[in-house]
Amino acid sequence: MNGLTFDIAHLLAGSLVLISFMMLYQDRLFALINVFALHAVVLALSVAWQAYIQDAHHLYITAGIALVFKAIVIPVGLHRIIQRLGIHRDIETAVGIGPTMLAGIGLVTLSMVLMLRVTPEADPLAREDLAFALSIILLGLLVMVTRRNAVSQVVGFMSLENGLVLAATGAKGMPLVVEISVAFSILIAFIVIGVFLFRIRERFDSVDIGALDDYRGERR
């Protein structure tokens, strides 16, 4: 593998981590979804690049799925949901931006240290990809943890799944059926969560999951 292909793959995966960081400090829902769409576009590029350098044509399909569903269908769907729910002005501040960013830096460091330590004899590209993928997964979890709104938790979950796809494509020889099934399960999860969002909204007049806790009679 020559230096340029490696560098480009490295650049795309690094950009994904960077965009994950961008998600951490978005406090408006529309902005968050836009960043998520960008995340998906970069993921699609990264997967397509992997397909090119590994000469694995089925990965183009994965890239296409990522582009169509995650960069277009889901963000558009979420936009419409937000408009119908009328929560596009909501500002959510569960944890402050500064501590969240610091925690994110810590998580990326952790995943780098861990992955570079446990995979010394793997292919360098796969190593880097795995380390970035773990960072993205942890950052997605961090988004889920630090947000109150159900929609932004969905976005955090989706970006977590992007990390999984990146990990799967970085390793050579992952069967296509696995990726397709993962993609479809995400889609179904999206639909189910969307249906639930409306149900929650109908009942509680809010998609702030704190309302669920109030309903259970617990204090936050």
């Binding site: 330590r117 979890l141 961090l142 889920m144 999951i209």
Partner: protein
């Protein structure tokens, strides 16, 4: 599949079928007779089969059924050890069923007893036959659960519910220990068949861990101190014939489990394993009988006495381990035979005594000895057979208890030949503890018999008591006869046990039936020998002669005198010796360390009219040292963790996230 094993496996199946029929028909009037009749027949068939195998000595036979874990199946095997324990289980089952034919008719809620009784017997049979860890544990749990259901038969009583709860907790604890022990034996390859475990040799650390786990697992079921706490609660809570099964037979199944793993599967023992088992056995024996002495509830007294006998058996097994580890197979065979002989004997006399307690309970409705007394006039046959049971368990010749305990002491006397100084010191010390417990056992059963059957009636219920039914009396008479027979023909039993000892310790005791005049000579004629028959004949002749002389030559003149002095000072039955007052001297000697007992006299001021009171305060030390801290810690932890049940969704997510990060950190920082 071997036909003997197939027949033996049909037995549990027939028991389970009986249990199902019993569950369906338990409210019919004839159900009691039907169920106990069926179990009587099935147990007798199994007994005959197993005894035939033991006597015929055709070696091992195994079978496997396509049940249970895939690729392992359910394996069963019959060898000398399992045949012997099958004899113990099914002899007990047969006689208990005979007793149940009569006793069961007084049961107020037969539908709570009848379905579980055959299931319990099936479980015990299957444990003894199992030849892989899965079948063993499954049967063991089945046995525990069936006996738990029997303990809970009279669940309206608060004390019984508590006993059932503690029993359930201890049984699950024991099974967990067994599970871990089998996990260690199976090794990384996970071979759960006993044959594979036998072939593998675990490293010394794993072997030590297995021994400790077996002491916990089998020991908690058998009642080793300090795991005995459930036993004196649960055994008496069941109906009396089930108490006899639990105390006389189920504890023996636990011993079977211990012997099977430690002597058979574990391979060569280390010498210190003998020390551990010996010490635990000795302590169990002394503490068990001390508790029994303090007890005034007849059935609880018997349950505590079971703990003492288990201690004797374990001490003997420990001795066998020590001898085996030091390459002294003949001494190991002696100790091992003594242990197994005592297993058999204890199953006889403990069943007999529980039957007697059940008969007293049926006749008077009382278990508290302080309310009994003078029953020898009302229940002459019961009191006679109960006396035989008491004499046997007190290890008096010519009955069977003496023969086996004598063998135990013969084995202890060989301890100077052991090479390790630790063992040379510990074995005689344990011998001293066993001697102490034997003496205390005699005192305990003098008390049990004397307070219950002698003296004068302490309550009106005793005055109205009548002798129990013929079935019960027949069962007790059979057991009394077995006690006497095993006592005067110990050589026969010892020779039958040779097929058991030979594969497990590599040697057998010398043939005893070839000795002249039915003597038994465990080591050599010059060292020691015992002839039960001779003692029996001597006692019979001398007692008959004494009776003859007294009746022939004593004065027949009728004399009347005032009752005073050493007789009965006044006419109130409460003035007699009571169970508590009989035990007082022993409580004063041993109570300080064994029970942390304290006596306080509450003396009113001169001239005051209220009575003086003597208060005795006693503690169950094992309960306070071992159990209360554990329950306290669990309560504390659950109290603290309870609010985790009521977190918000985001906090649950955060917890999972933090946990993941911590795991990753551990992985990253691990050296």
């Amino acid at each position: 599949m071997n036909s003997t094993v197939a027949l033996l496996l049909c037995g549990p199946a027939a028991f389970l079928a009986t249990a199902i029929v019993a569950a369906a028909a338990s409210r019919l009037a004839a159900a009691t007779r039907l169920v106990y009749g069926a179990t009587l027949v099935i147990s007798a068939v199994l007994l005959a089969t197993a005894a035939g195998h033991l006597a015929g000595n055709p070696g091992e036979a195994s079978a496997s059924l396509p049940l249970g874990v895939p690729w392992t199946g359910a394996r069963f095997r019959l060898d000398g050890l399992s045949a012997f324990f099958l004899v113990v289980v099914n002899l007990g089952g047969t006689i208990t069923s005979l007793y149940g034919l009569g006793y069961g008719r007084h049961e107020s809620q037969p539908h709570r007893v009848l379905p579980f009784y055959p299931a319990f017997l099936a479980g015990m049979n299957l444990v003894v036959l199992a030849n892989d860890a899965f079948s063993f544990l499954l049967s063991w749990e089945f046995m525990s659960l069936a006996s738990w259901a029997l303990v809970m038969a009279h669940h309206r009583d608060e004390a019984n519910r508590r006993a059932g709860y503690i029993y359930l907790v201890m049984a699950s604890f024991g099974t967990m220990a067994l599970l871990l022990a089998f996990g260690l034996l199976a090794g990384p390859a996970g071979t759960y068949a006993f044959d594979a475990m036998r072939a593998a040799h675990p490293n010394p650390f794993a072997a030590g861990a297995v021994l400790v786990l077996m002491l916990l697992g089998a020991g908690s079921k058998a009642g080793l101190v300090p795991l005995h706490a459930w036993l004196p609660l649960a055994h008496p809570a069941a109906p009396s014939h089930v108490s006899a099964l639990m105390s006389g037979i189920m504890t023996k199944v636990a011993i079977y489990g211990f012997v099977r793993v430690v002597f058979d599967l574990l391979g060569e023992p280390a010498w210190w394993s003998g020390v551990a088992v010996l010490l635990i056995g000795g302590v169990t024996a002394v503490l068990g009988i001390l508790h029994a002495l303090m007890e005034k509830d007849l059935k609880r007294l018997l349950a505590y006495s079971t703990i003492e006998n288990i201690g004797v058996i374990f001490a003997s097994l420990g001795l066998a381990l020590a001898f085996k580890a030091n390459g002294m197979p003949s001494a190991a065979a002696l100790a091992f035979t003594a242990a197994l002989f005592h297993v058999l004997n204890h199953s006889f006399f403990k069943s007999l005594l529980f039957f007697g307690a059940g008969a007293v309970l049926t006749a008077t409705g009382e278990r508290d000895m302080e309310k009994l007394g003078g029953l020898i006039h009302r229940l002459p046959v019961t009191s006679f057979v109960f006396l035989i049971g008491c004499v046997s368990i007190s290890a008096l010749p010519p009955f069977n208890g003496f023969a086996s305990e004598w063998l135990v002491f013969q084995a202890i006397l060989r301890s100077p030949e052991l090479p390790q100084w630790g063992l040379k010191v510990i074995v005689p010390a344990v011998g001293g503890m066993l001697a102490l417990s034997a003496a205390l056992a005699a005192a305990c059963f003098v008390k049990a018999f004397g307070i219950t059957f002698l003296g004068r009636a302490r309550s009106a219920a005793v005055e109205r008591a009548h002798e129990v039914d013929r079935w019960s009396l027949a069962a007790m008479a059979v057991l009394a006869a077995l006690c006497l027979l095993a006592g005067i023909l110990p050589g026969f039993v010892i020779d039958s046990l040779s097929t058991v000892t030979l594969p497990l310790v590599g040697e057998r005791m010398p043939v005893q039936m070839a000795q002249p005049w039915l003597s038994i000579v465990p080591i050599a004629e010059s060292r020691s020998s015992y002839n039960g028959l001779l003692v029996f004949v001597f006692i019979t002749i001398s007692a008959s002669l004494a009776a003859f002389f007294i009746h022939r030559f004593a004065s027949h003149a009728l004399r009347r005198g005032i009752a005073w002095g050493c007789g009965f000072p006044d006419a109130v039955p409460a003035g007699q010796y009571t169970a508590v007052s009989f035990a007082q001297p022993i409580r004063r000697v041993f109570g300080g360390f064994a029970f942390r007992s304290r006596e306080t006299v509450d003396m009113p001021a001169p001239g005051a009219l209220e009575p003086a009171r003597l208060k005795v305060e006693m503690h169950d030390v094992a309960w306070e040292i071992f159990y209360q801290p554990i329950t306290g810690a669990i309560d504390f932890a659950t109290e603290r963790l309870n609010h985790l049940q009521f977190l918000t969704i985001r906090r649950y997510l955060t917890l999972v996230f933090l946990y993941l990060v911590i795991l990753l950190l551990v992985l990253a920082l691990w050296p």
